[in-house]
């Protein structure tokens, strides 16, 4: 797998994380992986829903973490389908 493109969506509130993700995905080639880092707890279900509606992307994985400022982060790995 190629390196994932990073999208820093920390601090963004609904609906901005998915909108930024869509914009980032538009600029990426098929097969590319996008790593979205969000601080919005709602983004976990949001990205699960985001991939349900279209067939264009898939959710490769989700994990939780903590950023350098001690904030709880939600990391979403998304792949643009070929």
């Amino acid at each position: 797998m190629t390196d994932a493109t990073l999208l820093d969506a920390r601090g963004l509130k609904c609906p901005m994380p998915i909108i930024r993700a869509k914009k980032s995905m538009d600029a990426l080639p098929p097969g590319a992986v996008l790593r979205v880092v969000s601080t919005d707890p709602g983004s976990v279900l949001d990205f699960q829903g985001w991939v349900k509606s279209g067939a264009a992307y898939e959710l490769v994985g989700q994990e939780e973490g903590t950023d350098d400022q001690g904030r709880r982060t939600f990391i979403h790995l998304l792949r643009k389908k070929t």
């Binding site: 509130k13 869509k22 279209g54």
Partner: protein, 184 residues
Amino acid sequence: MSIRAEVKGGRAPRPDLESEIDALKKAQAEHRVTLVVFSGELDRHLAALVIATGAAAMGMSVSIFYTFWGLSALKKARVFKGKTLKERMFAALTPKGLSRLPVSRMNFGGIGRGLLKKMMAERQVSSIEELFALAREMGVRFIACTMSMEVMGITTAELIDGVELGGVATYLGDAARSKVSLFI
């Protein structure tokens, strides 16, 4: 196009069945969202625009139909010239644009709206103006209902650029092909 097929132990292709499949395909919902925005309050418009931009981010086609009080969001200016007394009253008593919409609860002459906007900014939630601009940028269609424009005396000169004009069939034509249709 003619199709030749040899069928062993089965039935020959049935043209009526094929046309039925075609009709079913046409009747199937598209990847589309249609919203009717009837209300004229900031919070309700916020909900509509969050859904619209979210749907656009999911690759869905989005149309928003603005009717009655909802039309205030599409105004760029108030026009009094050439209007009847009743129409001028309506123009004076309805908000002159998206930024001037009241909130549905606790508006208190605009104090509530100011508070809500401040709280949204503090929490880094996109403003109504940002969401509207974003929706346009993402290809959301804005359609103004001509019948309610007529009733309320709203002219096309009062509306922002890029707004389409339509009626109930415009809405139904889109709504019938939509997976999601909401009245706000």
